[in-house]
Symmetry: C2
Subunit: 262 residues, 2 copies
């Protein structure tokens, strides 16, 4: 894709700003936002990067107005340098898809660059050891855009082959029961000992200590799980990871123990 850099005067950067704290942004993301004249995004993503926004026109937007936001960004980007901001990676449950869809539909041809970022999954995983060392899947429990029966089939499929799953949007007021449903599916395939990590607002302001538990004991922390929480359900090879006697996280070994003596 042509990058806005090649033109200079106009274009669109779709920027993943990572989990939240500025030190977890890439240099490329900082650069894109610094060069933009207009910055569009949700307040919760803009607040931590406030220091980059001086002298720019900031267009805050709220959840659920993705198409409006995308249309506005594209209209502006025909004549200006515009950055549209997503948390994590813009291509993962972020703004990239809808912006590029709306762009295609508009028929406009403008320079556009998707700037990748550290996803919530990888940020969360980094706080609890190495639960995603090998193959893994990410599945959102939000049934706003995907029917619940499709979500359930996906959960079933990945649990059935034993790969770790990162659960996005695990539980909200609007759908308090989806997470319990996911746990039910996991229990069809896994013993109660499979480790589970509950990670709240990873690498953002207000980060809480992650909770390491098991599939068998998950009910004891279920009330703490909300939309700002990410849950990692280990796979059939995952296990609790300790330092000294203390439980520190989860490891999913990559089979080195079959190959090496250490």
């Amino acid at each position: 894709m042509p990058s806005p850099d090649e033109h200079g005067s106009c274009g669109l950067w779709i920027v993943g700003v990572g989990p939240g704290r500025m030190e977890y942004m890439t240099g490329r993301a900082i650069d894109a936002i610094s060069r933009a004249e207009y910055v569009i995004g949700n307040d919760s993503y803009l607040e931590p990067i406030r220091s980059l926004l001086a002298g720019k026109t900031v267009i805050p937007s709220s959840m659920g107005k993705e198409v409006e936001r995308a249309t506005k960004a594209i209209d502006l980007a025909k004549f200006h340098r515009v950055a549209i901001v997503s948390g994590g990676d813009a291509g993962v449950y972020g703004m990239a898809g809808i912006v590029l869809e709306v762009l295609e539909h508009s028929g406009a041809e403008i320079p556009v660059e998707v700037v990748p970022g550290v996803t919530a999954a990888n940020a969360g995983a980094s706080l609890v050891g190495s639960p995603l060392s090998g193959d893994f899947a990410t599945i959102s429990l939000s049934d706003l855009l995907t029917p619940l029966e499709v979500i359930e089939k996906r959960l079933d499929a990945v649990f059935s082959v034993g790969i770790p799953v990162v659960i996005y949007n695990p539980r909200s007021h609007g759908r308090p029961h989806n997470f319990a449903l996911a746990v039910e599916h996991a229990r069809k395939y896994y013993p109660a000992t499979v480790p589970v990590a509950v990670i709240k607002t990873a690498l953002r302001e207000g980060q809480a200590d992650p909770v390491i538990t098991t599939l068998g004991a998950i009910e004891s922390v279920i009330e703490e799980i909300d939309m700002h929480t990410m849950v990692i359900i280990g796979g059939n090879e995952s296990r609790i990871w300790r330092m000294g006697k203390n439980v520190k996280g989860i490891i999913t070994p990559r089979g080195y123990h079959h190959k090496y003596v250490y």
Copy 2:
């Protein structure tokens, strides 16, 4: 986990440096490497960050000596500040898992921090639109550490529920046929029109233009696929994405087209 920062004089950072070019590193990763006295890693990851390494003891290591590398890092980290470097995110097919396993086994208790990075999957996806907008899976075709029949079952499971798959390690001299096998599994569930992206050395030196093709036409590019290539096989909702008349990439819509008129 306690971070090496809290002690200062010793500890271990397991650092994901992203896809390769320094501008795609996070500030935290740059900071961790800058503070380290020892930096351990594969030459191909260290070369692009050479400018950070002045005055440090650099311990290059080659593929396949992961346990040795981990043991060395842990021994040094008892008395020094040590950064061990992985490409992409250290927790995804990277060094975090094996280092934490060896650490646990050693009984040592040292400050350790996993610094997340932009994965190869997200870097690659950013170059071809938004193929991973929703749920997705990453699966490696390397059967060095995972039996081929397990890999095949995993592919089957994720294709059967229609989610996009990022294929790591798609094809090498040692296993030229695994990718063809993956395609065979995909064809059991998908029509020939499902889009496929072939992305070589994304956001690294030597990056080639990504190839956008379909499951039906994949044979025409199969010879170009090697260990430095990542392949994204779209899901049952993925489609080719165009700007004007030109094919630019892949979009996996998140269902907005069911909800919105635009």
